[in-house]
Amino acid sequence: MNIEVSRRHFMKLAGAGAAGSTLTALGFGEAEAHLAAHVRPFRLAQTREARTTCPYCAVCCGMMVFAAPNKENGGKLEVTHIEGDSDNPVNRGTLCPKGAAAIDYIRSKTRVKHPMYRKPGSDKFEQVSWDFAMERIARLMKDDRDANFIERNKDGITVNRWPTTAFLSGSSLTNEGGWMTYKVARGLGMLQLENQARI
């Protein structure tokens, strides 16, 4: 079902094959085997490969993403290369100038690296912990909800709404992330809930 596996196996085979002795068995002569022993294996053979879709427009082009552990960053798996997925029936391996440069999005200079906080009236962001940010946001939301939540309207109808906090939801987020967003926003009683579909 998932061709990802077979492609990866192919890559591994191709990489391992270059290691030397087996080459003779594959029909290479001595000279070729000697040369091949000095050829570095495909770099892609050392990477993990996954199928994804392009983050940009709604054509949703198929992409192959190659990632390898970064020894300088605690062995974290980081992206080394992105290319079009040639199996995808829509884009058939092609990418446009946006998709082809998508690796630069992942490592953008203005990527948000840590939770940041700007105090009222301040002219700068300061780095904070996730714990600080989450605790503070939860407090602000609860206080606003408690102050403005409407359980019944003026006619006595149960309406359970929180009209004073708004949520703009992303349209590049997964369906599952979208459903989670829906659940949280509506579960809290929000009515001001929108996404890019409107614009």
Binding site: I3, A58, V90, K113, I137, K142, Q192, L193, Q196
Partner: protein, 808 residues
């Protein structure tokens, strides 16, 4: 899209209008190239600019931005007055034969029922005449003076080629060539596809633009057939999926409605939406609304949703008024909103009238930005000189900027514009301290819930009743969430004969299995089947295409029911035979509906029952006449944009869409033609995606700065040089950039008057690697479409002048 990207290869005529696929959707546009190369298909482009789509077109016609309805209505008039329609299709698969109430009328640009003080219509006279049998009355000869077809002939007769040319500035011969090519497909032998995007939606009459296009396709018989369709190319990668999920003010997932104050009980909500058929033997699929709604409530509130408490109906928030994004920013502007969470959303860049947005954001107590990259919105409080001239000391908003994983650092499914749900696998670890949206929102929600447990507060019961039965409550998996979206049997499900069809706990295979008694759940019925008993179909990667028609039925899962072309029943004639061998798709083989796709309804329903292809409509047919379902009229009408260079040539008394909403605070923000004589329109560039790629090195190198596209004639008139700096301003603000003097834009003659147009790329702002620029929405007006409230970004008024002095 009614059809799919790969289906475009089956077409004979491609009509691109209100979009520019070659630049905005390059890898989808290849299917246009395929059709041209392999079938000799013709491409025609109608656009204010000679775009890159136009550059490879067989025919290009210029048009004034904002005049699309006049153009499209001219095509409708050409088709009906020259009898160039697919008659059998129109008779059987549209409501052309339905009679309209005698009270209906139209005069000087207004339909019956208009209330000027409310800027809205009483739409009761726009309905069908209903017979004694409870069904709508039809005249299959299409001759009755009150049948939709005759009303249509009359309504569109004003849009002659001369009138189209007066309103749109399109030369008559160029307009007529479009008409002829459209008409060449009105026969069941050939197909035309219409491809559009935000060039049609972003108008005060955007929904009617698209509806007029749909009318043209229906008159030609181009809906439900290979190579046909009205195809929205759409913007963001998952804008289709997120629209489906319904994070929209008045929505519940799967196009169900959020209850309003006027629906105090579950029964009152369901009664308004459970439509019974208006013709015999019709599917009228919304009859099943209660099944989908109750299944949603069961997913939302789990075991706490019981028949006794109407499945938790009271806990759902009730809508007092729709807070579309324009109203959201109006409410913020008025100081009535305290908090805003922005998730992958940059409203400083993307909402109309940026200076109003900044005032609104400055009144917030808190703003939370969740995004992989820094946005202009997260830094709205920061002074960026002329590009964002604010005083941070005066802005008391607390701002959080949270790092979110990028697209490769998470897994889950996305739905492309062909409605195909495709899984993506996680490729890398989260960079830096980033976390997924799911993890962030789960933790936030559980922290809030804990505060309520400890302190109590308002609205506790709805909050505590939300179903949160995930293995790791702090980070539900995408797999769990997609299963929840799909739905499952909560008890053993049996059919009418008592046979077991689905055991308790098993995933549902289709929305046809959903029940209204609480025995099934499923958050979004239209996706049911994507994760059925046989696993996650969004992960399917079989790219075989046995029919050769680009169907790819085992690649991912297309909603609804894995149908790749919607309304495909219409690809066969009323007897179930293909309209032609060339367009053979789904047909009746004597026993069942067969072909490469999934049929619209039960496969064994014989053609004799005359069950229509348009299963969501109680009529079973499509609507040339839209009844009372649109705010601004049962037929489209040419209204000028809210900022227009001319008096409406068709209906001089009426300017902007009479049913469009204008906030009292905005009445003064519109500019007049005397002061702002030039029409402006916005668009994106092939090197950039909205406001993201200005943060991406490679794209910033390729297209580093904002510019203004103007014609040679306007450049001469204003003394502007190619590459020289210009200032462009509207009644709301100004921007600066380099002038690109080009032959791609030409002045047009509108109602005898020369009108210039300028093109403004929208991708530049004050955060990122591209050269700083004022957001283009500094210029745009805060008025939206009368139905969808999509802002009028694509046609407004400006003036322009060269900036003398050194150029940076």
């Amino acid at each position: 899209m009614t059809n799919s990207w790969t289906d475009i290869k089956n077409t004979d005529v491609v009509w691109i209008m209100g979009g520019n696929a070659a630049e905005a959707h390059p890898c989808g546009f290849k299917w246009v190239t395929e059709a041209k190369h392999n079938r000799g298909a013709k491409l025609m482009v109608v656009d204010p600019r000679f775009t890159r789509s136009a550059a490879v077109a067989d025919h290009y016609a210029p048009i004034r931005a904002g005049s699309d309805i006049a153009f499209l209505s001219g095509v409708v008039n050409y088709l009906v007055s020259n009898d160039k329609i697919h008659k059998e299709y129109v008779r059987h698969y549209t409501n052309a034969s339905f009679l309209v109430k005698p009270e209906y009328g139209f005069s000087e640009g207004l339909f019956t029922g208009y209330d000027e003080s409310k800027r809205s219509y009483d739409r009761s006279s726009w309905e069908y005449e209903i017979g004694f049998d409870g069904y709508a009355v039809r005249d299959m000869t299409l001759q009755h003076p009150r049948c939709v077809f005759q009303l249509m002939k009359k309504h569109f007769s004003q849009y002659t080629p001369e009138m189209v040319s007066r309103v749109c500035g399109t030369p008559e011969d160029k307009f007529l060539k479009v008409c002829e090519w459209v008409a060449s497909t009105a026969n069941g032998e050939r197909a035309m596809t219409i491809m559009y995007a935000l060039g049609w939606t972003q108008h005060s009459h955007g929904a009617q633009n698209i509806r007029t296009a749909a009318m043209i396709q229906l008159l030609c018989g181009n809906i439900g057939i290979p190579g046909g369709g009205v195809n929205a190319l759409r913007g963001h990668s998952n804008v289709q999926g997120i629209t489906d999920v319904g994070t929209l003010t008045a929505s519940i997932p799967g196009y169900l409605a959020l209850p309003t104050d006027s629906e105090p009980t579950l029964e009152s909500h369901l009664a308004k939406r459970t439509f019974t058929p208006l013709q015999p033997n019709q599917t009228s699929y919304w009859q099943n609304y209660p099944k989908f709604f109750v299944s949603f409530l069961k997913s939302f509130y789990g075991d706490k949703a019981t028949p006794e408490n109407s499945f938790g109906y009271d806990w759902l928030p009730k809508l007092d008024v729709a807070y579309d994004c324009l109203r959201m920013f109006e409410t913020m502007f008025q100081g009535k909103t305290n908090g805003l969470l922005c998730q992958g959303f940059n409203p400083v860049m993307s909402i109309a009238h940026k200076n109003k947005s900044i005032v609104g954001l400055s009144k917030l107590k808190f703003l939370v930005s969740m995004d992989p990259i820094e946005t202009d919105t997260a830094r709205f409080w920061e002074n960026h000189g002329e590009f964002n001239d604010v005083d941070p000391a005066k802005i008391q908003t607390e701002v959080f900027m949270l790092p979110v994983t990028s697209f490769v650092e998470e897994e889950g499914s996305l739905t492309n514009s062909s409605r195909c749900i495709q899984w993506k696998w996680r490729a890398a670890d989260p960079y830096y301290e980033s976390r997924t949206d799911i993890a962030i929102l789960s933790e936030l929600f559980l922290r809030i819930r804990k505060l309520y447990e400890e302190e109590g507060g308002m609205g506790v019961e709805p909050l505590m009743s939300l179903n949160w039965s995930y293995e790791n409550p702090l980070e539900p998996t995408a797999d769990e969430l997609l299963r929840e979206i799909n739905g499952k049997a909560l008890v053993d499900l049996r059919d009418a004969e008592g046979n077991l069809v689905r055991t308790a706990g098993s995933q549902l295979a289709s929305f046809g299995e959903m029940r209204a008694d609480g025995s099934t759940d499923g958050a979004m019925w239209i996706y049911t089947g994507v994760y059925g008993p046989n696993g996650n179909y969004s992960q399917r990667r079989d790219n075989s295409d046995p029919s050769g028609l680009g169907v790819y039925g085992n690649w991912g899962f297309s909603w609804p029911a894995n149908r790749r072309i919607q309304y495909n029943r219409a690809s066969a004639d009323p007897d179930g035979r293909p309209w032609s061998e060339a367009k053979k798709y789904m047909y009746w083989d004597g026993q069942r509906w067969t072909g490469p796709d999934v049929p619209d309804y039960v496969a064994t329903t014989p053609p004799e029952k005359a069950t229509g292809p348009f299963i969501m409509n109680p009529e079973g047919v499509s609507r040339l006449w839209v009844r009372g379902l649109m705010a601004d009229g049962p037929f489209p009408v040419h209204y000028e944009p809210f900022e227009s260079p001319v008096v409406n040539p068709v209906f001089p008394k009426i300017k902007g869409n009479p049913a469009a909403r204008v906030f009292a605070t905005d009445t003064e923000v519109f500019g007049k033609a005397e002061e702002f004589p030039i029409v402006a329109t916005t668009y994106r560039l092939v090197e950039h995606f909205h406001y993201w790629t200005k943060a991406v090195h490679m794209n910033a190198v390729m297209q580093p700065e904002f510019f203004v596209e103007i014609s040679e004639e306007l450049a001469k008139e204003k003394g502007i040089k190619h590459g020289g700096m210009v200032k462009v301003w509207s009644n709301r603000g100004s921007v600066k950039g380099k002038a690109v003097v080009t032959k791609r834009l030409k002045p047009l003659t509108i109602d005898g008057k020369t009108v210039h147009q300028v093109g403004l790329p929208l991708n530049f702002g004050f955060i990122g690697e591209t050269k700083k620029a004022a957001p283009i929405n500094t210029l745009t007006p805060p008025v939206g479409d009368a139905n969808a409230q999509t802002p009028e970004f694509k046609a407004f008024l400006v003036d322009i002048e060269p900036i003398v002095g050194p150029v940076a």
